[in-house]
């Protein structure tokens, strides 16, 4: 690529003429030979981090494979993973430690796995969750720092926290999610013309005034309120950076094919089929936004810790069933609870397959992501947190092997979070608190 064809050279000077439009079709000559690197800039396909969560764990006898390593067997609850087995790793027999804290039903497990710290009360939210920590490292270059969405249709369902008082609000409606991702503020990287919004520059100027105001407000506040205002100020600074991004012509992305029209609206409700439909719509929107490099950290929440998903014709929602349904010894599980878990695994399979269907370079998006999946309990009936299962999906740009079942031998479950942070390039010597503290990666999956 000669300098004359450099896209930034073409764009240089555009900002002073905001109303000017420039025709810049996506050309194959902008890609290198194998398609993984944008030849014009040397920018590689970004490496991203995702999370996925399901509720209420598993039934060990019908979930945990007998065999470890590659080609592990697929007991009934994870049978739906057959087609994605080569893309994932399954982690079992890891522990989360509550130490002196109580075992808070459906809370302790997920909070430890996402934040590394055992909560002291049910109202005690996690500190910074790993997606937020990772987004600080890799989330600055995109329009959204961190995307959160759920399949429950409930705005309260999120496992992403900046701190104990600050949840990242999830998107819960497909239409709203579409509008946020691909509405009027979306700049299609493959659009033939680039029109920097002239209002963005003037917005930046106004924003700096708001930041000055924010600073002046904090001087008379107590420590906790000052921290809240400081957090707001940080958010405004972050917003300013996002404005800068809007002024830069995005590089073309072959994988970016935004939906042409908004999705249908969905009613509220937690019927398993409806949840499944919502999950798939939200997944498709989210992953396309990732493909279009609108975000490099993304969180999908299939079901809540107290999952109230319902099975048509069965009078107990998932959570109620875990406690009230008897174990049928001949089946080694609670049959209806197991049905709910299988539905969750079907959706996990859908999610991973959706990643595999997005072509990037000479591979798929799975090559360029690390997805971390966790739940809140191991055996929900007794609120057990020993042996809580986890997954990863994706090859993390060649950094990890996949298709493995790893037996954690009772070591801390926080090792997977720690491994994830290391893989994502964070310079962290250790992670987690007290017995959940670890500085040991899960070496078996490292390439």
């Amino acid at each position: 690529m000669s300098k004359l064809m450099n896209r930034r050279r073409v764009l240089r000077g555009m900002l002073n003429g905001c109303a000017i439009t420039v025709g810049l079709p996506f050309l194959n000559c902008f890609l290198n030979e194998n398609g993984t690197v944008l030849a014009s800039t040397g920018a590689s396909i970004p490496f991203r981090f995702g999370t996925w969560s399901w509720g209420l764990g598993m039934s060990e006898a019908v979930f945990v494979p007998k065999k470890t390593g590659p080609n592990f067997d697929l007991p009934p609850e994870i049978a739906p993973l057959k087609d994605i087995q080569q893309h994932i790793n399954l982690f079992t027999n890891y522990k989360v430690f509550k130490d002196a804290a109580p075992n808070l039903c459906h809370h302790t497990g997920w909070v430890i796995l996402r934040s590394g710290v055992a909560p002291l009360t049910a109202a005690n939210r996690p500190g910074e969750t790993i997606d937020v920590t990772i987004a600080k490292k890799i989330g600055s270059a995109t329009r959204f720092r961190n995307l959160c969405a759920n399949a429950t249709g409930d705005v309260r369902d999120s496992f992403s926290y900046e701190n104990g008082n600050s949840v990242n609000t999830p998107e819960w409606s497909p239409i709203r999610f579409y509008q946020r991702l691909f509405g009027t503020d979306f700049q299609n990287p493959n659009a033939p013309e680039f029109k920097p919004d002239p209002r963005v520059m003037v917005r930046k100027s106004v924003l700096s005034g708001v930041m000055d105001e924010t600073k002046s407000l904090t001087k008379d506040l107590g420590a906790e309120d000052k921290a809240r205002l400081d957090q707001y100020f940080t958010g405004l600074r972050d917003l300013e950076r996002r404005f800068d991004l809007q002024l830069t012509k995005p590089e073309p992305i072959a994988a970016c094919h935004p939906p042409a029209k908004p999705p249908e609206d969905l009613p509220s409700g937690l019927d398993a089929d409806l949840v499944s439909k919502r999950h798939r719509m939200m997944t498709d929107l989210m992953l396309m936004a990732v493909a279009c490099d609108q975000a490099r950290v993304f969180n999908m929440f299939y079901a809540a810790a107290f999952s109230a998903t319902t099975k048509p014709g069965y009078d107990k929602p998932h959570h109620t069933a875990t406690h009230e349904e008897a174990v049928v010894e001949t089946q080694h599980c609670q049959p209806n609870v197991s049905w709910y878990t299988r539905r969750a695994m079907e959706e996990w399979a859908y999610y991973v397959q959706a990643l595999s269907k997005i072509k990037e370079g000479d591979g798929t998006m799975l090559d360029n992501v690390l997805v971390y999946a966790s739940t809140d309990q191991s055996f929900a009936k007794t609120h057990a947190i020993e042996g809580i299962p986890m997954f990863t999906a994706g090859r993390a740009q060649g950094r990890i092997k996949t298709g493995l079942h790893i037996d954690g031998a009772g070591t801390p479950g926080t090792r997977l979070g720690y491994t994830s942070m290391k893989l994502m390039g964070l310079d962290v010597p250790s992670w987690g608190d007290q017995s959940n503290h670890t500085s040991k990666e899960i070496g078996e999956i490292l390439a």
């Binding site: 949840v167 503020d185 917005r203 406690h323 008897a326």
Partner: protein, 565 residues
């Protein structure tokens, strides 16, 4: 001492100095004995914490609706985060919630959408009080007029000169850059709409000249606290004028303002918001019933159930000024077509007043579809959930969570001879680890077993006759009417409401030790006044506790005197 301000007027009516002196002494004694509270007997030194609250989504939308109209407000979903229920109220969670970077991005997007609508051709002639000399250029006087007027309402106090100059400058620069006066104005408005000074409701205090050594909310903070309390929205023009003139800081001025607010139709918005919060109606945002079990219950049905209860509350407490406790026995309500199918009664289109007959099992809030369906499973009723909700929502009691390792399998006993919930739940009474908590929930829930998980009446369950007897804290009853009466007569029913209303009004969770005396005071007066909500609202709004401040939980200093004007 506020009362002292009326003394000179009173003294002027007496002819002799001696008489005047006697009256003055009497007045001083009166106010000292009455705790300097205008004769209400409010405990000495009552005060509430200074707080920094994030505006709730409803408050954001209601404030925009007042300033710009419903169509602008309705077109833009409130971009504020969900709140954690704290001390029984979502609103109290606003006193500690933080705003993430992602959320601020959403706030900015909403601000841009609001601003674009305000200046569009459809709205500008109504919402902007002037026209620019040239639509393609800056016009500082016109921008100033709009930003000053709008800013005063949005920031809940006059926009100081420095801030106004900056806003006008931003509008002008943007207009010149964009060659569009209205686009420039929109950008300046966006800046206002993302300002934390408006989105956070920040209490500002000043020395209280009537109570040396004490501090009080300044007039604008008091106006905001009153307005968010009674209207669930920012102050209107009249209330801000009362703050600007200083009238709001006088006893009589504050009474006039509070009485005007209580007389306004907007108090219904405030009371609705409070009860929606207190009764946990945000659950309806995602509530659904199993269509196989309850084919007639749709999303519209459940939305109407929520609305029915709120209409009942407003009509009973505000319109009719009835006894709060009677909400749990009244047969008067409102009916819609969607609900008529569930209640099995005839009706006409639209919302109409409806009175259940004397022989109907329906009486009071507990028998309305909202309570019955929200506290049940998607496909069946729940004795335990209903009992728990009754205690937590209306009696302010906390029911402990079940122990982590309890085995509930016996509840799913397939024995076909166990036809009713009472039979299946016997395990609660016979299992020691369950009995402790379930004995305080199940006996009330049994009384509601004539209503299924969608709130529909049923004579029997699986063909078995239902035994709806039970007890509530020593009051035994035979059926739902007995439970309603037991709840009506429960001493914690009114005190719970007082606790929640005071917490809601002062913007955060209660302090067990710091608020004990003032809550007892309000509860006593609430009872003496016949449990009338408007009287309770007025009492709290006019109390010293409402306007005097003490250090908040966050350690916020009380020595804050400057005004951000």
């Amino acid at each position: 001492m506020r009362g002292a301000r009326v003394a000179p007027v009173a003294l002027a009516t007496f002819a002799t100095a001696r008489a005047a002196l006697a009256v003055a002494v009497a007045l001083v004694l009166f106010f000292v004995l009455a705790g300097c509270t205008g004769g209400t007997g409010e405990p000495e030194g009552s005060a509430s914490p200074m707080r920094v609250r994030l505006m709730t989504g409803k408050q954001y939308s209601a404030t925009l609706a007042y300033i710009f109209g419903d169509d602008v407000s309705d077109a833009v979903p409130a971009p504020l985060p969900p709140l954690a229920r704290t001390g029984g109220l979502l609103a109290s969670g606003a006193a500690s919630i933080g705003v993430t970077s992602d959320q601020i991005q959403q706030i900015q997007q909403a601000a841009a959408a609001v601003a674009a609508r305000v200046v569009d051709e459809e709205h500008r002639d109504f919402l902007i009080p002037c026209k620019p000399a040239d639509e393609k250029a800056a016009d500082a006087p016109c921008a100033k007029m709009f930003l000053q007027q709008t800013g005063r309402l949005w920031y809940r106090r006059p926009v100081d000169d420095a801030r106004l100059a900056k806003l006008v400058k931003h509008a002008g620069e943007a207009a010149d850059e964009l060659k569009d006066f209205y686009a420039g104005l929109a950008v300046a408005l966006e800046g206002m709409l993302v300002s934390p000074d408006a989105l956070f409701i920040m209490d500002v205090a000043e020395p209280d000249p009537d109570h040396p050594g004490h501090r009080r909310l300044d007039a604008y903070s008091l106006a905001a606290r009153l307005s968010f309390f009674l209207w669930n929205a920012a102050p209107d023009d009249a209330l801000l004028k009362a703050a600007e003139s200083g009238e709001l800081l006088t006893r009589k001025g504050r009474e006039r303002a509070v009485d005007a607010m209580l007389a306004s139709a907007r108090v219904e918005d405030g009371v609705r918001a409070f009860f929606d919060d207190m009764m946990g109606f945000n659950d309806f945002d995602s509530l659904a019933k199993d269509p196989k079990a309850y084919p007639t219950v749709t999303g519209a049905t459940l939305a109407d159930a929520r609305e029915q209860t709120l209409r009942t509350v407003i009509d009973h407490l505000i319109t009719k000024r009835e006894d709060y406790r009677d909400l749990f026995t009244t047969r008067a309500t409102f009916m819609s077509m969607n609900l008529a199918a569930i209640y099995g009664v005839p009706t006409v289109n639209g919302w109409v007043p409806y009175e259940f007959p004397e022989d109907s099992p329906r009486a009071g809030l507990l028998t309305q579809v909202s309570f019955l369906s929200a506290h049940a499973h998607p496909a069946r009723s729940s004795v335990t959930r209903r009992g728990k909700a009754l205690r937590e929502l209306f009696l302010c009691q906390v029911v402990p969570s079940p122990p982590p390792n309890v085995d509930f399998s016996k509840l799913d006993d397939p024995d076909p001879s166990l036809k009713t919930a009472r039979e299946r739940l016997k395990v609660h009474a016979t299992n020691a680890s369950c009995a402790g908590c379930h004995k305080i929930m199940d006996p009330m829930g049994f009384a509601l077993e004539h209503f299924d998980g969608a709130g529909q009446f049923r004579d029997t369950e699986n063909g078995a006759v239902l035994d709806t007897s039970g007890s509530l804290d020593g009051n035994a009853f035979k059926d739902i009417n007995g439970l309603n009466q037991a709840l009506h007569d429960h001493p914690s029913l009114p005190s719970c409401l007082v606790n929640r209303v005071y917490s809601y009004g002062t913007g955060g969770p209660l302090s067990v030790s710091g608020d004990k005396a003032i809550l007892a005071h309000f509860t006593e007066r609430f009872a003496k006044a016949g449990y009338k909500l408007p009287d309770l609202l007025r009492d709290i709004a006019l109390s010293n506790a409402f306007s005097e401040v003490r250090e908040g939980k966050s350690g916020r200093p009380t020595q804050v005197a400057q005004n951000s004007n």
